[in-house]
């Protein structure tokens, strides 16, 4: 800035005459010249050590701001602590007001938090475990609340919010169709291609049809769809409910005697439970189609052969294993999203954190649940 370069720097002429130090200050004692201001104040403090009394003449100070006043008063205070008297003379009235207002006081420095790497590490683990435990218990509790609300709604169908359900179905299922169909098609192609390359070495190319049929119907379709829905709809539900929570809309519902779980969460979770199996079915069709196309191109398996081989390799239970899992996935995604949404606090930052957390927890739980189902179906040989 032009003013700063032209401005006169702070100066302190220290004159040591007969037992008292007289310091004549001049220039601008302002924040732009902070290092100089501090250096001069330091020099002043050191010069004062030689005598008992210091007189600081401020009449030449052109400009004084809070920083200058603070440093000057701090120096006076420090000298006073050591038993030296320091007096300010000749200060202009406006500078005096500032010096009085800014009067030095010690700020208790906040004690830096005690850090020990190892104990902190252990404490973090402990906290994470107890938080996971609380989350789990909270999830079970919320499932109970949701079930109660569902029973209340179903026992009095007049209170059922059909329009909200349809609207949510559109958001969750209908609008999700294109992206889910597309990625399923691509994954179907990729799995088929890799299968063909590996099975060719054994001369068993046609078994690729068994591979993709079983893999897609039992696992891939429902997993892909659930992960996509957790990312798409889980985050949307958390964001919607979270922003309503932030603006006290949830509280507004409560004071009107409406149950937010009944009004907001039941339609959303029901839409997920109905929508996810539908999407899973479409995903399976699309992935099988992708696999079929790839098998035709890469493995010379004609559509006729593909279809008859598919019929021979899969049964109704292969199809059902995938589909049965879908509503449970939906329930887990919905419950997690709703809990995270209701846990949003005042700030937009907390909303962002909760949305991320809903997606991460949702996808994690979907995969865990899929593992549990795999063990279960293996145990009952289905």
């Amino acid at each position: 800035m032009p003013q700063a370069t032209l401005a006169r720097e702070p100066q302190a002429n220290i004159d040591d005459a007969g037992g008292e130090v007289r310091a004549t200050l001049a220039g601008r004692w302002t924040a732009e010249h902070a290092p100089l201001v501090e250096a001069h104040a330091q020099a002043l403090a050191e010069a004062a050590q030689a005598s008992r009394r210091v007189i600081v003449d401020l009449s030449g100070v052109e400009r004084l701001d809070t920083l200058g006043a603070w440093v000057l008063d701090r120096t006076r205070h420090d000298l006073g602590q050591l038993g030296y008297a320091a007096d300010f003379v000749g200060a202009r009235p406006e500078h005096n007001i500032l010096l009085n207002e800014v009067a030095y006081r010690g700020f208790q420095p906040q004690p830096p938090p005690r850090r020990s790497g190892f104990t902190d590490f252990l404490a973090d683990i402990g906290q994470a475990v107890s938080r996971a435990g609380r989350d789990f218990m909270g999830g079970i509790g919320f499932l109970g609340e949701f079930s109660l609300a569902l029973v209340r709604v179903l026992s009095r169908p007049a209170r059922f919010r059909g329009k909200a359900l349809i609207n949510q179905l559109e958001q969750v299922a209908y609008r999700g169709v294109p992206i889910i169909v597309l990625i399923s098609f691509l994954v179907g192609c990729i799995v088929a291609q890799q299968g063909i390359f590996q099975l060719q070495r054994f001369g068993a190319t046609t078994f690729v049809v068994n591979l993709i049929g079983i893999l897609i119907l039992r696992e891939l379709a429902v997993l892909l769809t659930s992960i996509m829905v957790a990312g798409r709809s889980g985050s949307a539900i958390t964001a919607e409910i979270g922003s309503m929570q932030m603006r006290e809309e949830i509280d507004a519902l409560r004071v009107m005697g409406l149950d937010p779980i009944e009004v907001l969460i039941v339609p959303r979770i029901l839409a997920l439970i109905l929508g996810l199996p539908l999407l899973t079915f479409l995903s399976a069709l699309s992935a099988l189609f992708g696999g079929g196309v790839t098998a035709w191109i890469y493995g010379d398996i004609s559509p006729d052969v593909f279809l008859s081989q598919l019929q021979a390799s899969i049964a109704m239970n292969t199809f059902l294993v995938g589909l049965i899992k879908a509503p449970f996935m939906a329930l887990v995604i919905g419950i997690i999203a709703a809990i995270e949404g209701l846990a949003v606090e005042g700030s937009a930052e907390s909303l962002g954190r909760r949305v991320t957390s809903a997606v991460v927890k949702g996808i994690f739980m979907v995969i865990v649940l899929d593992g549990v189902f795999a063990i279960f179906f293996a145990a009952i040989r289905y």
């Binding site: 800035m1 032009p2 003013q3 700063a4 302002t30 924040a31 732009e32 902070a34 290092p35 501090e38 701001d65 809070t66 920083l67 603070w70 440093v71 701090r74 406006e94 007001i97 500032l98 207002e101 800014v102 006081r105 700020f107 208790q108 420095p109 906040q110 606090e345 005042g346 700030s347 937009a348 930052e349 907390s350």
Partner: protein, 267 residues
Amino acid sequence: MLDRVSPLRDDPHREAVIRVRGVEVAFGERKVLDGLDLDVYRGEILGFVGPSGGGKSVLTRTILGLVRKQAGSIEVFGEDLDELSPASRRAVERRWGVLFQMGALFSALTVKQNVQVPMREYLNLSGRLLDELAMLKIEMVGLKPDAADKLPSELSGGMIKRASLARSLALDPEILFLDEPTSGLDPIGAGEFDDLIATLQRTLGLTVFMVTHDLDSLHTVCDRIAALGQGKVIAAGAIDEMLASEHPWVKSYFHGKRARAVMAAGA
């Protein structure tokens, strides 16, 4: 009554730190400011009033360079803002502080870190001085030291305003812009905030430009008031001159039921 403005406009004895001439701002077809003239003199507290949605905040934002104007000129410290190089414009910006209506504290930083943002950016301070100065500003605005390490989400509305004021004072500005500083505060908190602004104005020699709706603030702390209407300043002057104004909007504003109560209490 437009004549009332002109003697104030050309007051030769006082230095105008902000000089707005013929500013026009339009959003699409709608003209919000239409040839607005306004002077803010050094060392005064100017209260800026006007109907809701009338362009008070738009003028503030235009002076601050957040809204583009279609015509007119704005001089701050005698320098035309349009003709400044980016560097000298930044130098001017360093000499003003802004208190936004919602506080606009950075939500990821504590109060102290918020106050230190402009200091770190513009000043070369030692670590000790940086801490002490931030704490000093926090105390000057009447916050307790333990508020310094809190995040904005942990503060009440009044504390957010104070913390934001501390940040706007971080660089010892010469001009302070306040956008509805007392809105959302209870009358006691608003009164305290008014006193705080008056005290700081005296101590730091500030020039204050205050957009407000608060009749109490206008009455107690403002040296001069400017009223906005139809995109122009329709009246400006001390509170007595405003009370004497014949302009219908000014009249209903300062002689309404609420205004009479304030004046009666103040008298």
